[in-house]
Symmetry: C2
Subunit: 338 residues, 2 copies
DNA sequence: GTTACCATTGGAACAAGTTCCACTACATTG
DNA sequence: CAATGTAGTGGAACTTGTTCCAATGGTAAC
């Protein structure tokens, strides 16, 4: 079908090695020979097979990314950072979308293989102990984004501190009855998601430090989604003594809380202050106070780490923490009673 | 490094062909030999190289997708449909994100190569005449999603009819001063985007059929984004005789219009009716009336077509049109004067 | 006792590049 | 003038798995 290096060699009346040298810009070719080979290459529309090169070099120039629920705005933004960085270095991005435990396990087992990719990025999916061992056995570079695991590189934020930041903001506004809405254990356990749990830890730290009671009724956990958060917030707001502020583990969930207030005819922030997390695109439009984390940058940084490891560097397996930032908009205010 | 088929053959004391036959489930191996080979394979943790297999078979089990601005909700949803379908058939998805004319051209030139992928899906990016010829020359299966081109398969919607549907809805509500906000030519031309333009065509058809004047001041074109739409809508709404309804070529742009009404203290739909396009996730929350198109399905269908072509089928190069649906929510009503 | 046939097996050739050794000229050095 | 050096070149060997032809051993039929 397509012309091969042998076709070129034959047509140009030279040896295989000479064509290869021309292709690889070796100086050990006379100008006349080089030109003749280049002419034939142009004439035959010869393009070296990426495949054969890959087989020889043992490098695929491909990075695999395993991402859960890649329609989530936060995941997308990270992927964008990854793609931009990889494309800038001539690397391809293969995406594996995980939406079930089976698929997660299958990806962790099958994707990290040297004949598939040169490195693996995993978003929000920390591997278990045995999986970490298996990853090490492959000798492939692995970088975690938005999560961490011992012995592996990671790029993430300090979710506990971020949770404290959000909660402290509400406490300092004068709120005493503060709620939290995050992901349900049963669901995060499936994928080992930790962000929501850690933000919740930060939430509790601040409440306790402020001498505020942690009321179970003010803590709602459900599947990560607008609808579930809406239901949870509704319950909370219908309590005899409802919270005056709620911290949501994500903007998506904050959106559900906003819906619930609307359903009940409540006003934000007069009746309820809301803080979200991520600062997704729509947050600005909605005037949502939120904790912004560098999503694009986390992906870009993770991709840079992978590329440097592919290039042979072996950085220490530490977790890099990117800074978060509180973005104050209209959804937070002192409580009405204050 | 990793064990090869030769290592297995040597350790099992059999020939290369025998190991290959075991791997390929050939019946021409005695049970005893098969078991011995399988034992050695397990012992050496041998895994066949995907790479070498690819070189032999000439198949990469990979489909490339070229997508513009893949953070857009509509593109993401299509990608999700593509990924789900490909993963279900053991195919990998390589994503190329296009955000500039250079990158678009580079992708169209370099991605469709047999040694990179078995097929190419292109979202919203119709190739030009010379590029179509080049695509045909590669013999690679190509399917367009959300666009069409002669000689190529496509999966899209009838954007003109959809534009008519949206506009007719406004006309039938009694609106006489109807605006349109869509993508600027200068920007769509870069990528050959056609959706906005065609929806605008439908818009004009209906206005003319209804005997309504097409006023240039009621037609705004800008870069596809919330902010740009907001600016355009603001201008329109500040006219001495502003439109009583606006049709936006996308929900993202409809969002900008919503923002503009809010900026000006106007109420939707009392002062202004708005119809968007796509029915993205947030549209429901915002109560936006919109034209829903099957995004996930378009990706899934495109992927199915590619897979069937990879399997050897050569369907006629026709464009499949998926149905659209008007989703009526709270952002549309008869004009105040009616 | 042959001949015929089949199940089973081994391994060369191949896919499309890269690497590297060997060889040819010609030039420089002693 | 011989010895050494080197730029330029050719092509075998190699990467890993598949394909296919040839060969083996044994059984069955005549």
């Amino acid at each position: 079908m397509a012309a091969t290096i042998r076709d070129v060699a034959r047509a140009a009346g030279v040896g295989l090695g000479t064509v290869s040298r021309v292709l690889n810009l070796s100086p050990l070719v006379s100008a006349a020979t080089r030109q003749r080979v280049l002419d034939v290459i142009a004439e035959l529309h010869y393009v070296p097979s990426r495949l054969a090169h890959t087989l020889i070099a043992g490098k695929t120039r491909t990075v695999a990314t395993i991402a859960p629920f890649f329609t989530r705005p936060s995941v997308i933004e990270r992927l964008r950072g990854i793609e931009a960085t990889l494309a800038g270095h001539g690397y391809n991005l293969v995406v594996f979308n995980v939406e079930s435990a089976e698929r997660r396990n299958a990806c962790l087992r099958d994707v990290p293989r040297a004949d598939r990719c040169d490195g693996v990025l995993m978003i929000s999916l920390p591997p278990r102990g045995d999986e970490i061992a298996a990853l090490h056995a492959t000798k492939l570079p692995v970088v975690l984004v938005d999560t961490s695991a011992s012995g592996l590189l990671g790029v993430c934020i300090d979710d506990v501190a971020a949770g404290e930041l959000a909660t402290r903001t509400l406490v300092e506004l004068g709120h005493r009855r503060i709620g939290f809405i995050g992901d349900a254990q049963a669901y995060t356990a499936t994928f080992n998601f930790t962000s929501s749990w850690e933000r919740h830890q930060g939430f509790r730290h601040v409440l306790q430090a402020a001498g505020l009671a942690v009321r179970p009724a003010y803590e709602g956990f459900g599947f990560h989604g607008r609808y579930e958060a809406r239901v949870l917030a509704r319950e909370m707001l219908l309590l005899a003594e409802p919270p005056t502020a709620i911290f949501a583990a994500s903007d998506t969930q904050a959106l559900g809380i906003l819906e619930a207030t609307r359903d009940l005819g409540l006003t934000v922030p007069a009746h309820l202050s809301i803080i979200g997390f991520d600062d997704i695109d729509i947050a600005e439009y909605l005037g949502l106070t939120t904790v912004r984390q560098p999503l694009f940058e986390s992906g870009a940084h993770g991709a840079e780490l992978i590329l440097s490891m592919i290039a042979g560097h072996r950085p220490a397996p530490v977790t890099a923490y990117l800074p978060v930032e509180l973005v104050v908009r209209g959804s937070t205010a002192p409580p009405a009673s204050a």
